[in-house]
């Protein structure tokens, strides 16, 4: 009897043990076969400099398909596995050729089109030794233009491409024809990722189609079974997470992809880039293994850093970063970097609201925004005040514009001059407009984020001093985005992340983007619209720069946005990482350049 007292427990124990065994038996990990040469590399890694670099990721990477992925981290890892003709150098912030020999040659044509010509490097080859040619470029573009790919019809982003020209006498040369003069044509026509045709289209399903045909006659060919079959083939999970199927021409290959836990990249033993002379940073790939480790909680990541279980971490919340920077133990093993990220945070004012259409109210709000206090208190000093949408790293940042001074009295005067007074004695300024009493009582929406909330609290406290009431309203991200799109707000906290490429302001600042673009606040004057249009079509950098200077003046004068600051990217890197490039460009570093030494 005694022995049968806990039969159920024994059973549960056996089942639990079996479950643990089963859980260790593979499943989610998709590394069915180790990539070729893995053992050889592992042996080499033990002898040579290189070693393993452990990089923190705060969210899991869902897909490493260069055409089907979301999120900045996935986009960054993809750069190490796949390559494009050009990309932005993390150190110089300029366009740098990768597969291309040099930057594009741009030729304006009499018919108004623009010819963007590249030549692919002679050294560039696939892993099997086959040269990378214009055919590969054409194939990569055709993938983008196939609307059956699960990427939300990315083909729309290439609408400007009207044709693709190959040259019989030089299989490495190609010309992309843009149907318009456009400032980003060079960058956009060179930033698509190459993939080997034999892996990604073994049946040659796309070979019968041309770029021109896919652009001009898409509606007619959309139902072609070959295009549909290719879409289904390419959308497979294997091309998103299976190391055996994800092939690119970059220095690394994926050796492990374990959803929610890690992505491991292994340096190729033989890579074409090693033979390139006059190398840019894109041809440096020192770590033998780059192990991206997902740690979702910053407190956990902090413990991991203290235990030296991570080598590189970015976007660290200011409070955590400062605490770690003060730690003697951390100082011994880590370096601390705070590059100014190319982004800007702002408070958006709904200018189509009858109260906020009054420029005096907008200017008054700008004068009560104590940006220095926000940077000191909320960001713990880890930020930089801005005056407009152009980042200070850009040479056409308008240094002549002074930010609105924090000046309560000036704000009061502006409102009084515009006729705003507290007529009903409720402590809130009001004014009768078109027969209706309008009170300066605004809602301020933001999605859950401590920085946004704290800035809102400071802003509201200051505004109260001049008789403006601001009600903070935290909204779940989907609700927040929905309200922005439908302009259902008075004020909101927003942030835009940018790249170092020339700025095309249309989507955010053009009046045409009010109804269904990202001009949520209704910014825009005739002059600003004309400037935006002119900037878009201007290929001369200096001329474009001057237009940008004026554009920033208008943004400042209109005050549809109260520009706040650019948050620094708080990065902690192990001291053993020599030559790590820390950058203003997201994600904030180019880790393949790091040489791993002794700590």
């Amino acid at each position: 009897m005694k022995s049968s007292t806990y039969p159920h427990f024994r059973f549960i124990f056996v089942v639990a043990f079996a479950a643990l065994l089963a859980s260790c038996g593979g499943g989610e990990a998709t590394s069915e076969t180790p990539p070729e040469g893995t053992e050889k590399i592992a042996e080499a890694a033990a002898k040579e400099i290189g070693g393993e670099l452990k990089v923190h990721l705060v969210a899991q990477v869902e897909s490493l398909n260069p055409q089907i992925h979301t999120g900045a981290d996935a986009g960054h890892i993809i750069k190490l596995v796949y390559q494009a003709l050009i990309d932005i150098d993390f150190e110089t912030l300029e366009i740098s050729p990768i597969l291309a020999e040099k930057r594009a040659t741009l030729e304006e044509q009499p018919d108004g089109t623009l010819h963007i010509t590249y030549r692919i490097r002679d050294e560039a080859t696939w892993a099997n030794g086959d040269p990378i040619t214009a055919d590969d470029a054409e194939f990569a573009l055709k993938i983008s233009m196939n609307a059956h790919i699960d990427n939300g019809n990315h083909r729309n982003y290439y609408e400007f491409i009207s044709d693709f020209i190959k040259y019989e006498d030089d299989p490495k040369k190609l010309t992309i024809v843009s149907n318009q003069k456009y400032l980003l044509a060079e960058a956009a026509a060179g930033d698509f990722y190459f993939v080997p045709r034999d892996t990604y289209d073994p049946k040659g399903l796309l070979s019968e189609f041309t770029i021109k045909q896919m652009q001009e006659n898409w509606d007619e060919i959309a139902d072609d079974p070959r295009l549909i079959e290719f879409g289904e083939w390419f959308n497979q999970k294997r091309f998103q997470t299976d190391p055996a199927s994800m092939k690119g021409s970059g220095p690394y290959e994926v050796s492990e992809f374990v959803t929610g836990q890690r992505v491991v990249l292994q340096r190729k033993a033989e890579w074409w880039g090693d033979n390139v002379k006059n190398k840019s940073h894109f041809f440096e790939a020192w770590p033998q293994i780059i192990n991206y480790q997902v740690v979702k909680d910053y407190a956990t990541a902090e413990v991991a850093l203290k235990g030296q279980k991570l080598d590189l971490m970015k976007s660290i919340p200011p409070d955590v970063f400062l605490r770690l920077r003060e730690s003697e133990q951390m100082k011994k093993h880590y370096d601390f970097h705070t590059p100014s990220m190319i982004n800007y945070s702002y408070i958006g004012l709904n200018t189509r609201d009858v109260r906020l259409s009054d420029k005096a109210v907008r200017h008054a709000l700008a004068h009560v925004t104590n940006v220095s206090q926000m940077i000191d208190v909320v960001l713990n000093g880890l930020g930089e005040q801005l005056i407009g949408p152009v980042h200070p790293t850009n040479r056409y940042y308008n240094k002549d514009i002074e930010p609105y001074a924090y000046d309560i009295e000036r704000a009061k005067t502006l409102l009084a001059e515009a006729g705003w007074a507290d007529s009903d004695g409720d402590g809130i300024l009001d004014k009768t407009i078109d027969g209706t009493l309008q009170e300066l009582d605004f809602n301020y929406i933001f999605n859950p984020n401590p920085v946004r909330e704290a800035c809102g609290q400071l802003f509201a406290a200051e505004a109260r001093k001049i008789g403006i009431k601001i009600n903070l309203e935290v909204q779940e991200f989907p609700v927040y985005v929905g309200n922005l799109k439908s302009h259902n707000f008075d004020l909101f906290f927003g942030k835009w992340v940018q790249t170092p490429l020339p700025r095309d302001h249309k989507q955010i600042y053009h009046t045409e983007s009010y109804a269904d673009g990202h001009n949520f606040v209704g910014f825009g004057t005739e002059e600003s619209d004309a400037l935006i249009d002119e900037i878009r079509g201007e290929l001369d950098e200096d001329k474009r720069g001057k237009l940008n200077l004026r554009f920033q003046e208008i943004c400042h004068e209109e005050s549809a946005y109260i520009f706040l600051f650019s948050e620094s990217n708080n990065i902690i890197a192990a001291k053993k990482l020599d030559h790590l490039i820390v950058s203003e460009f997201r994600v904030g570093y180019w880790e393949p350049s790091a040489v791993i030494g002794q700590n």
């Binding site: 989610e28 836990q261 989907p478 619209d529």
Partner: protein, 490 residues
């Protein structure tokens, strides 16, 4: 018994359908558009460069099947048409819905809406040149604004601005006809209001081509080969995750594995520890032992798990103190590593999460056990056993424990859903890709196929848990029977 089980299993079907329906109704009435969220993940202005956002929105909407009617039917007022779901942009759809409601005469409203569309379409046939594009853009801006306006008066104001634009810009002159048509349509809105329709209900029947039907039954043929993207939930295909574009089944397979494993071990440990503690508390009732155990368990139960998890990490996972346990994850060994190496590494990684997962349920189970044991110890048969001269050990172990465990069966019903629901906090802190984190993230991203599946799974397992508990009662207590007898016991 078999008849009873079959009956209960049959009840599962309508119950699960009701759960799915309820979840579905809640989801469509929740603020937030899944497509917006999907596109907003790439809210970098660089990606906005080719004015392609709108087209992407439409494509994603079709890809996710959101362009279909929501359900088999809708019940609205007689002001609403049955084709509103075809308008892709949510803001446009909602604005038109409001105008239709306010005005009441849908054909007249539709005519004006078509007038706006005709203007936009016609504007694309104008020559796009340096001297014309500014005027054309201004006109399109007005038309697009018109789509989002929610009153007839706003439409009229827009029309006035369009007319002024055409009058002052000769390059827009070819659009005068379309503008006039729009003007006529707007005129016809005057006096054609049918407000009574606001009070008349109308049922629109959409048939099987709707989102719910597609989710439930898919579009693949039931027999033989044929085209179709989904087999539907009833055939085990839970659809495609909006967030990752990967099959929901794949996402659940990975997450369930870890959640079930950790939950099972945690439940096992909780029972193994709590039952003896509960027994001890009951047996030592009124002594310092009972008070000691009670106080400790109460304290343990009160500690929030995120705090305990963080403390455990700081003290035992290589922070400022002891580096005894791994800090996060489930181990770094690849699948090619020897099996037992991976086994021990995974086990080592699970120690801290399992402690956190277990300690809170300890107190609960222990109190249940103590109370049950208390009741049993005061029953006649225990007194009889003691009177027979059995040792206290035999009385407790052989008679009281077995009978008091019957009440613990109730907890079995809870264990099933608990085993798959996961813990958001613990999974987040220890970076375990489990069900809690998956479901929470899915909800945040309005990834409804994943949310539906998680709800259905937990619902189904609650039903199974209750059934198993009922059956176990019958096994453990012969007085309980699910078979109807013709004679009643006295």
């Amino acid at each position: 018994m078999l008849k009873y089980i079959l009956k209960r299993l049959l009840i599962f079907i309508p119950t699960l359908l009701a759960i799915s329906l309820l979840t579905f109704i809640i989801s469509i009435n929740t603020s937030g558009d899944p497509v917006d969220v999907l596109l907003a993940r790439n809210l970098e202005d660089q990606l906005s460069q080719y004015d392609a956002k709108q087209e992407s929105y439409r494509s994603f909407r079709a890809l996710l099947g959101l362009d279909k009617p929501v359900f088999y039917f809708t019940i609205t007022t007689a002001t609403q048409p049955d084709t509103l779901h075809k308008i892709a942009i949510r803001t446009h759809r909602e604005a038109l819905e409001r105008i239709a409601f306010e005005h009441g005469n849908w054909p007249a409203v539709q005519q004006a809406y078509k007038g706006l569309q005709s203007l936009e379409v016609a504007s694309y046939s104008l020559p796009w040149q340096a001297d014309t594009k500014t005027a054309i853009r201004k006109l399109r801006d007005q038309v697009k604004l018109g789509y989002t306006q929610a009153s007839v008066d706003d439409w009229r104001a827009t029309h006035q601005k369009i007319t002024d634009l055409i009058a002052t810009n000769t390059e827009l002159a070819p659009l005068a006809t379309e503008a006039a048509t729009l003007g006529v349509a707007l005129e016809q809105l005057n006096g054609s209001e049918e407000h009574w329709r606001q009070y008349v209900p109308r049922l629109h029947w959409y048939g099987g081509d709707n989102q719910y039907h597609y989710w439930l039954f898919g579009d693949a043929p039931w027999f033989g080969a044929g085209e179709g993207n989904s087999k539907g939930v009833v055939r085990g295909d839970f659809g495609i995750s909006h967030q990752t574009m990967q099959p929901v089944n794949d996402r659940f397979t990975g997450s369930l594995r870890w959640t079930v494993l950790i939950s099972m071990i945690s439940i096992l440990l909780a029972f193994l520890t709590a039952v003896p503690l509960g027994v001890l508390s009951a047996v030592k009732r009124g002594t310092w032992v009972e008070r000691f155990i009670g106080a400790k368990l109460f304290v343990l139960y009160s500690l929030p798990n995120f705090w305990v998890a963080t403390l455990l990490l700081i003290y035992f996972a290589g922070g400022d103190h002891f580096d005894w346990f791994p800090t996060y994850g489930l181990g770094d060994l690849p699948d090619t590593a020897p099996f037992w190496d991976r086994f021990w590494e995974t086990a080592w990684h699970l120690v801290l999460p399992i402690i956190c997962w277990t300690y809170a349920s300890l107190a609960f189970i222990s109190r249940q056990m103590r109370s049950s044991m208390d009741n049993v110890l005061t029953t006649d048969f225990i007194r009889t056993a003691r009177a027979k001269g059995l040792s206290e050990r035999a009385v407790i172990g052989r008679h009281a424990l077995r009978n008091s465990l019957i009440s613990m069966i109730t907890l079995v019903g809870i264990v099933f859903p608990y085993a798959v629901a996961g813990s958001i906090v613990i999974e987040h802190i220890f970076t375990i890709p489990g069900m809690g984190e998956l479901t929470f993230t899915a909800y945040a991203f309005r990834d409804y196929p994943v949310v539906y599946t998680a709800t259905l799974l937990v619902g189904a397992l609650t039903l199974v848990g209750n059934l198993v508990a009922d059956l176990l009662y019958a096994v453990a207590d012969p007085r309980i029977s699910f078979t109807k007898t013709s004679t009643s016991e006295s």
